[in-house]
Point group: C2
Chain length 221, copies 2
DNA sequence: TCTCTATTTATTGTATACAATAATTAATTG
DNA sequence: CAATTAATTATTGTATACAATAAATAGAGA
């Protein structure tokens, strides 16, 4: 894996897992030192993260982790609501036992993370479940977009989520897998809509934005 | 407008309008000289264009205008097919006379471009029609994505399109405007689906890829 | 002490330099 | 003369330098 890509993933992880919280400043020198590359390389990944809405770059002020607005949060969830259920039909045409098994393993990991209260892991795994499912539908362009939306959702959940955002009264992801195994197209689609709507409505969007904490010890190693 | 943004738009235009054809190499020095900024600035916009799939950057080989694959072409159109018709309901809730007028002006421009055989203009205007419509639906995240898909479609049409790709037996964009004016939600949705399907099926996807011409005289001024 | 201003420090913006790699051309050999 | 190899040229990758801007600090006056 290229070095750039490596740095990109590490930073994306740190952001999505909330190690670098929304609002945290990302000074280039600090990162440059932490990753052992010059500012040039850092700027490259920061710009990428900015295009993908994970950080915000302000002219002459540098980058900080994006704190998604309430409007943005809703738009991201609405986008997923419009796309993901519609992927189910194509998904079903490819669905087989191996897939089912792979995803069920993922679900048990999710449950484990949730039980041991590892919120970050839990959020990450949820995202992965959704975008890997999207990938199976076969359209890479869409899958790519859904993946990005899922990552952004992680940021959103970190900012506005409640415990109820991950857990869901509709049970867990394994129920969807059951429906897929049984080939219930309409029910699966409906489940997906309901699931996303539940997440959407679980967000607390009337709270005040968090203060901008700057954890100096970036990736303290 | 910032200088970066300016360069970005000029290059995007040149690509989408087929002045820089698919496969054309984009040496940094040449661009750097043409735009009067150092390679640093050029690299920045090239990387952005690469993330948006308008150019392809290969390690140690630099950037060239993307020649979308057939698979990519279909996926982009399918993505639009999945999203754009679904935007109609939200679009209709905002639709009013001013919008109608604005879009009708756009349509006359389209017709004019088509009549005078200005294919590049025609393609560009078609893209604009679609993504400005998407914007009106109110979800910026989706609108952004649709815009990107429309621009990519321009590249695709330039590579695989026929005369039939822009003109359509279902008439032209003004028919959609009529349906919107009359508030015919279902018909408008159906029209949009049909329109996109028509474009999709008008592509010539069995032809051989074009040779990689390198027009040296970049933006000859 | 508080506030405003001046100075210093930190940080980013941009250009350039040099090394690494690829592409092109020239040279050599069968 | 063709084909392979060597030398040259072009091009990109990365680090660094310096200027421009913003942020933080210190000092002066009320």
């Amino acid at each position: 894996m290229s070095n750039d890509e490596n740095i990109y993933r590490q930073m994306l992880n740190a952001i999505v897992e909330h190690q670098l919280p929304p609002g945290a400043r990302l000074p280039e020198d600090r990162l440059s030192e932490a990753f052992g590359v010059s500012r040039t390389g850092i700027r490259k990944v920061l710009q990428r993260l900015a295009l993908e809405h994970f950080v915000v770059i302000e002219k002459n002020k540098g980058a900080q982790v994006n704190h998604p607005s309430k409007a943005e949060a809703l738009e991201v969830l609405d986008s997923r609501l419009l796309i993901e259920p519609q992927l189910i039909p194509d998904l079903l045409t490819h669905w087989n036992a191996e897939h089912s098994e792979r995803f069920r393993i993922m679900v048990t990991e999710e449950k484990h993370a949730e039980e041991s209260n590892q919120l970050a892991d839990s959020i990450q795994l949820t995202a992965r479940f959704h975008y890997e499912l999207a990938t199976l539908a076969g359209n890479k362009v869409l899958a790519n977009f859904v993946q990005q939306l899922c990552y952004r959702s992680s940021l959103i959940l970190a900012a506005y989520g409640t415990r109820g955002s991950v857990g869901c009264e509709c049970g867990d992801h394994s129920e969807l897998l059951d429906l897929l195994d049984q080939g219930h197209k309409d029910k699966a689609q409906h489940w997906m809509s309901h699931h996303l709507k539940h997440i959407r409505s679980s967000l607390i969007l009337d709270s005040k934005p968090e203060e901008n904490i700057d954890f100096q010890k970036l990736f303290g190693r």
